[in-house]
C-alpha cells in the first residue's frame, strides 16, 4: 500500500491492537512522509526529538488551517512559549518543585494504600477487568484528591472527559466538525464545574490544587478564571486518561511476557526500569500534532508554515536507529531515553505522578499475577488512536493450588 495513506491506516480502528508494523513501514518510508491530504507524518526518533525541541514548531492548534481549530484559547498543553511557560509555571507552583517539592512524594503512601484497597475488593473474584476494576479507578481517585474534586462526581466528568479526548484525536477519515463542537462544549462545561469547585474554596482552602489556585495571594501569580478553568480541565483529564493506559498496558505486556513477569516478581527493584521500558514499548500517548511557524526544512523535505505534522512518538520509541532490538520488551534496558512522556518544553507535566502511580499499581499487582491469564488477546481497544489503550482487559485469576 502507498505510504501516503499511513496516517489513515494507523488511525483505522482495525489496526488499533497492533499499529507497530505500520510504524515500521512509516520509518521505512522516510523520516518525513507526506500524506494524501497534504499533512506530514514523522516516525523516526531523531527527527521527532529534533521537532519537539524546535522553537519554530507550534503546538497551538490555532496555527493550523480550518475554522473549528480557531475557536478557543487552548490549555498550556497546546500553547507555545512564552504563554505556555507562564501558565505551566503557575500550574506547577502547587504541584512540584521549586515551590512544592514534596507534594507528589508525600502522596506515595496514599497511593499505595488506595492500590491495596482496590485489590482487596477484587480478592475473591475469578475474573476481573483490569481497566474498570483497577487501572481506571486508581488514577481518577488520585487526581480527584490532588485537585480537590469530589470522587462521586466521576460519572459527570467522565462524560465531559470522553468528549474532550475524542475531539483531540487524529481522525483523517472523519469530518470532525461535530466532534470538535462537542469537545469545545464539554471543555466549557467542565471548566465551569471546576471553577465552581474552586470558588467554594475561596477563603476556605483545603489541601488541594484548586484551593491553591484560587487563594493565590499574589495577583501576578494568580490564574484568571478562564485560565483556572482550562488548566483544571487539562489536569483532570490528563491525570487519568493516560495513566489508565500505562497501568493497563503494563499488565497486558507482562502477561504476554511471563518470563519477564517472573523475573520482576523475584527482583522488585527492577520495577522502576520496567516502567520506563513500558513507557517506551507500549506508551499511553502515541501521537502528537504540531505545525511549523515558518516554512521549514525537515530532513530534506520543505514543509510549509501551517501544515499539520503528526509526530508518531510510539514509532520513535521503536526506532532501531535509536534503540537496540527495539521490538523486544526488556525491563533491564539501559540508555532508555524514550518518548513516552514526550520531550522538549511540553515534556509531561504529570510524569512524576504517573511514575509513582505505575510503580504502586504494578508493584502491588505483580505478586498477584502468577496464576493470571489473559481472557482475550488482543483485548478490545478504545477508539482513540492518539491516547491508545485497551477499553477492557479481562483477566482470569486462577487460584493456585
Amino acid at each position: 500500500m502507498s505510504a501516503d495513506t499511513l496516517l489513515e491506516r494507523i488511525t483505522d480502528y482495525a489496526n488499533r491492537a497492533d499499529p507497530y508494523p505500520l510504524y515500521a513501514e512509516l520509518r521505512e518510508a522516510g523520516p518525513v512522509v507526506r500524506q494524501a491530504d497534504g499533512s506530514y507524518l514523522v516516525g523516526s526518533y531523531h527527527e521527532i526529538t529534533a521537532l519537539l525541541h524546535n522553537p519554530q514548531i507550534s503546538a497551538d492548534p490555532r496555527n493550523l488551517p480550518g475554522p473549528a481549530q480557531k475557536a478557543r484559547k487552548p490549555p498550556f498543553l497546546r500553547l507555545d512559549d512564552p504563554e505556555h511557560h507562564r501558565l505551566r509555571t503557575l500550574a506547577m507552583r502547587p504541584f512540584g518543585p521549586p515551590h512544592s517539592p514534596g507534594r507528589i512524594d508525600t502522596m506515595r503512601g496514599q497511593i499505595t494504600e488506595l492500590t491495596e484497597e482496590l485489590l482487596d475488593e477484587l480478592r475473591d473474584r475469578p475474573q476481573i477487568d483490569i481497566v474498570d476494576d483497577f487501572a481506571y479507578p486508581l488514577p481518577v481517585t488520585v487526581i480527584c484528591r490532588l485537585l480537590g474534586v469530589p470522587r462521586e462526581d466521576e460519572p459527570l466528568f467522565r462524560e465531559w472527559s470522553n468528549a474532550v479526548v475524542a475531539s483531540a484525536d487524529v481522525r483523517p477519515d472523519l469530518d470532525t466538525t461535530e466532534q470538535d463542537g462537542a469537545g469545545d462544549q464539554a471543555r466549557i462545561d467542565m471548566g465551569m464545574y471546576l471553577l465552581n469547585l474552586a470558588e467554594q474554596r475561596r477563603g476556605h482552602p483545603t489541601d488541594d490544587m484548586l484551593s491553591a489556585f484560587i487563594n493565590e495571594p499574589d495577583p501576578a501569580l494568580r490564574l484568571t478564571p478562564e485560565e483556572l478553568a482550562e488548566t483544571g480541565v487539562l489536569l483532570l483529564i490528563a491525570g487519568h486518561e493516560t495513566t489508565v493506559n500505562l497501568i493497563t498496558n503494563g499488565v497486558l505486556t507482562l502477561l504476554r511476557h511471563p518470563d519477564q513477569l517472573d523475573r520482576l516478581r523475584g527482583e522488585p527493584d527492577l520495577l522502576p526500569r520496567a516502567v520506563e521500558e513500558l513507557l517506551r514499548y507500549e506508551p499511553p500517548v502515541h501521537m502528537r500534532q504540531r505545525t511549523p511557524l515558518v516554512d521549514m526544512d525537515i530532513a530534506g523535505t520543505t514543509i510549509a508554515k501551517g501544515t499539520s505534522v503528526v509526530l508518531a512518538l510510539a514509532s520513535g520509541n521503536r526506532d532501531p536507529k535509536r534503540f537496540h532490538d527495539p521490538d523486544r520488551f526488556d525491563p533491564t534496558r539501559q540508555d532508555n531515553e524514550h518518548l513516552g512522556f514526550g520531550s522538549g518544553i511540553h515534556l509531561c507535566y504529570g510524569a512524576p505522578l504517573a511514575r509513582i502511580e505505575a510503580h504502586a499499581a504494578l508493584g502491588a499487582l505483580i505478586p498477584r499475577l502468577s496464576t493470571a491469564r489473559l481472557v482475550q488477546d488482543p483485548p478490545p481497544y478504545r477508539q482513540n488512536a492518539m491516547l491508545r489503550g485497551p477499553r477492557h482487559l479481562p483477566i482470569e485469576m486462577r487460584q493456585s493450588a
Binding site: 526529538t49 529534533a50 525541541h53 524546535n54 522553537p55 519554530q56 507550534s58 497551538d60 507555545d80 512559549d81 512564552p82 511557560h85 511557524l293 515558518v294 521549514m296 536507529k321 535509536r322 534503540f323 537496540h324 539501559q334 540508555d335 520531550s343 522538549g344 518544553i345 515534556l347
Partner: protein, 457 residues
C-alpha cells in the same frame, strides 16, 4: 601489547568524579584485574558543584555531598596520599609516602586545585579562603553562618559569582572585585556579562569591575581585615574568598616525559596521553579537568574544560578504551556543557561560547531574564547559553552538532520579531581577567566532524 585487556593492573590517580566514574565503567566493561584508586584528599569521591551553592547556603553540610556509586568498583582505595611521580618506563606511580604502585595501564585524573592568592603571607591570614574542596567549603560555610560584616570575593567567574549570590541570599554584605569589565565576561562574552552585572547589583552586591586587589590586610592577630584595590580604595571585610580560577595538578608528572603543562595533560580523542615528543602512549590515559583534548567541532583545537559533564563522559570513554583495542575504541566527542545557579537564575551552556565571533538572542529577551543566546563563529553555530530556559538547550545542541548556519533561522514562537541582529560576542582575552578561563582553546586544524555514534544497547 599482549594479554587480555580485561585483566592486569590498572591504577587511577585522582579519586574524584572522573576517577570514580572510570573505575565503575572499567568494571561495567568487564575488567576483572586489580584496580587501585589514589586520592590526595582523605575522603571518598564527593560532588563539588554543591560546595559553592547549597553548602554555602547552609542547606546541606559539606560532608554530605558524597558521590553515589553506580556499582561497587571493587577497587583498593589509597586515600589521603598524593601521587608524587610517574615512571613511564618502569610503569610505576610513586606515592608521597614512599611507596610505589606498579601498573599495566594508568589513568591520570588528578583534576585541578584552586589558584592560591599569590602572596603566601596574605593568603595565610585567618578569614582568607579558596573554594575547591570539601574542607574549604566547610570552613567557609562556618564563617558565613557566623554572620560576617562583609565578604570580599576576588574574581567574577562562575565560582566567585555563585559565592557572592550565596552570601546575598544569606543576607551578608558582599564586595566582588573583578579585573575584567563584568562578571562572567570571560565565559559568556559581553552581552550576557552585562546581564550578570545587573543581577549582581540588583541583589545588592557591591560590584567593582576593572579593578584588581593589590593587597590583603590583617590585624596583629593575623586576622583578615580588608583589602587595597588598584583604584586606591579600600574594602573593609572580615572574610575573603579568592576565586581566581584553577591550577591543573600536573606537577607530579614533571619527570614523567608526558605532554603535561599548565593547561593540562594533552591526549588524543581516545584519551591516550601524548608524550613530550607528541607520540601517543598506549598505556597512559587522561580524563577530567586535567586533560587537554582535541575536539573536531572546534577546529580540532585542544580543549581544557572544568566541567562536571566532561569529567563523566571522558572518564567513561577513557575506561572503555583502557579495556578495548584498536577499532573497538571510542572517541571522546561529547559537547561541552555546564550549568550554574546564581541570583535565582539557572544558566546552562552547550558548546564553547568563547569560540565565537557573534551572538544573537534566538528566544526570550534580556528584559524577561529568560532567553536563549546563540553563539556563532564564521557563520556557524558553536555554542548556546540559556537563562532560565534549560529545556531549549537540546535544540541548540543539535544545531552545534550539525554545524548549522549562524544566525539561526528566525521564527521561534517566543521571539516573534526576526531573531535579533547578531552583535559581536565580545569575548575578552582571558589575560585581562581576574580568574582563569574554565574553557581554554589552543591550536588550530580546520576540518569537520566525520563521526556518528550509534547506540549499541
Amino acid at each position: 601489547m599482549t594479554g587480555d585487556l580485561r585483566d592486569g593492573r590498572i591504577v587511577i590517580v585522582g579519586a574524584s568524579l572522573a576517577g570514580l566514574r572510570a573505575a565503575e565503567t572499567l568494571r561495567e566493561e568487564g575488567f576483572t584485574g586489580s584496580l587501585t584508586v589514589v586520592g590526595d584528599e582523605p575522603y571518598p569521591p564527593y560532588d563539588r558543584p554543591p560546595l559553592s551553592k547549597q553548602v554555602l547556603l547552609g542547606q546541606v553540610a559539606a560532608d554530605t555531598t558524597g558521590l553515589p556509586m553506580r556499582r561497587n568498583p571493587d577497587a583498593e582505595w589509597r586515600l589521603g596520599v598524593r601521587a608524587s611521580g610517574l615512571d613511564g618506563i618502569g610503569k610505576r606511580v610513586m606515592l608521597a609516602d614512599g611507596e610505589s604502585l606498579p601498573f599495566d595501564r594508568l589513568l591520570i585524573a588528578t583534576g585541578t586545585r584552586a589558584r592560591p592568592w599569590p602572596n603566601p603571607d596574605e593568603a595565610a591570614l585567618d578569614g582568607v579562603f579558596t573554594l575547591r574542596t570539601r574542607d574549604d567549603a566547610a570552613g567557609l560555610a562556618e564563617r558565613l553562618a557566623a554572620g560576617p560584616q562583609r565578604v570580599l570575593v576576588i574574581g567574577g567567574g562562575f565560582t566567585g559569582s555563585e559565592i557572592a549570590s550565596a552570601c546575598r541570599e544569606r543576607g551578608i554584605e558582599v564586595t566582588l572585585a573583578e579585573r575584567g569589565p563584568a562578571p562572567l565576561v570571560g565565559a559568556l562574552g559581553g552581552t550576557l556579562s552585562k546581564l550578570a552585572a545587573a543581577m549582581h547589583r540588583n541583589h545588592g552586591v557591591d560590584l567593582r569591575c576593572g579593578v584588581t586587589v593589590t593587597a590583603l590586610r590583617g590585624d596583629s592577630g593575623g586576622r583578615f581585615t580588608g583589602a587595597e584595590l588598584s583604584d586606591g580604595s579600600r574594602v573593609e571585610a572580615d572574610v575573603c574568598v579568592v576565586a581566581l580560577g584553577a591550577v591543573r595538578n600536573v606537577e607530579w608528572l614533571a619527570e614523567a616525559g608526558l605532554a603535561a603543562g599548565p593547561r593540562g595533560v594533552t591526549c588524543d580523542a581516545g584519551c591516550r596521553a601524548f608524550d613530550m615528543y607528541g607520540i601517543v602512549t598506549d598505556d597512559v590515559f587522561v580524563a577530567g579537568d586535567v586533560s587537554r583534548f582535541p575536539h573536531p567541532l572546534f577546529d580540532y583545537q585542544l580543549l581544557s574544560l572544568e566541567h562536571w559533564g566532561n569529567a563523566v563522559a571522558q572518564a567513561e570513554v577513557a575506561a572503555h578504551n583502557m579495556v578495548n583495542r584498536g577499532p573497538l575504541r571510542r572517541p571522546h566527542l561529547a559537547l561541552p556543557t555546564f550549568w550554574s545557579t546564581q541570583f535565582g537564575l539557572n544558566i546552562k551552556s552547550v558548546g564553547v561560547p568563547t569560540f565565537s565571533d557573534h551572538v544573537a538572542i534566538a528566544q526570550g529577551s534580556l528584559e524577561e531574564r529568560r532567553l536563549a543566546m546563540v553563539y556563532g563563529y564564521r557563520g556557524r553555530v558553536t555554542a548556546a547559553v540559556t537563562v532560565d530556559m534549560a529545556k531549549s538547550l537540546e535544540y541548540y545542541r543539535h544545531l552545534i552538532e550539525t554545524a548549522a548556519p549562524f544566525p539561526p533561522a528566525p521564527g521561534a514562537a517566543d521571539r516573534p520579531m526576526a531573531a535579533e541582529i547578531p552583535v559581536p560576542s565580545d569575548v575578552p582575552d582571558p589575560k585581562g581577567l581576574s580568574h582563569g578561563p574554565t574553557v581554554a582553546l589552543t591550536g588550530h586544524l580546520p576540518d569537520r566532524r566525520l563521526t556518528v555514534i550509534q547506540p549499541s544497547g
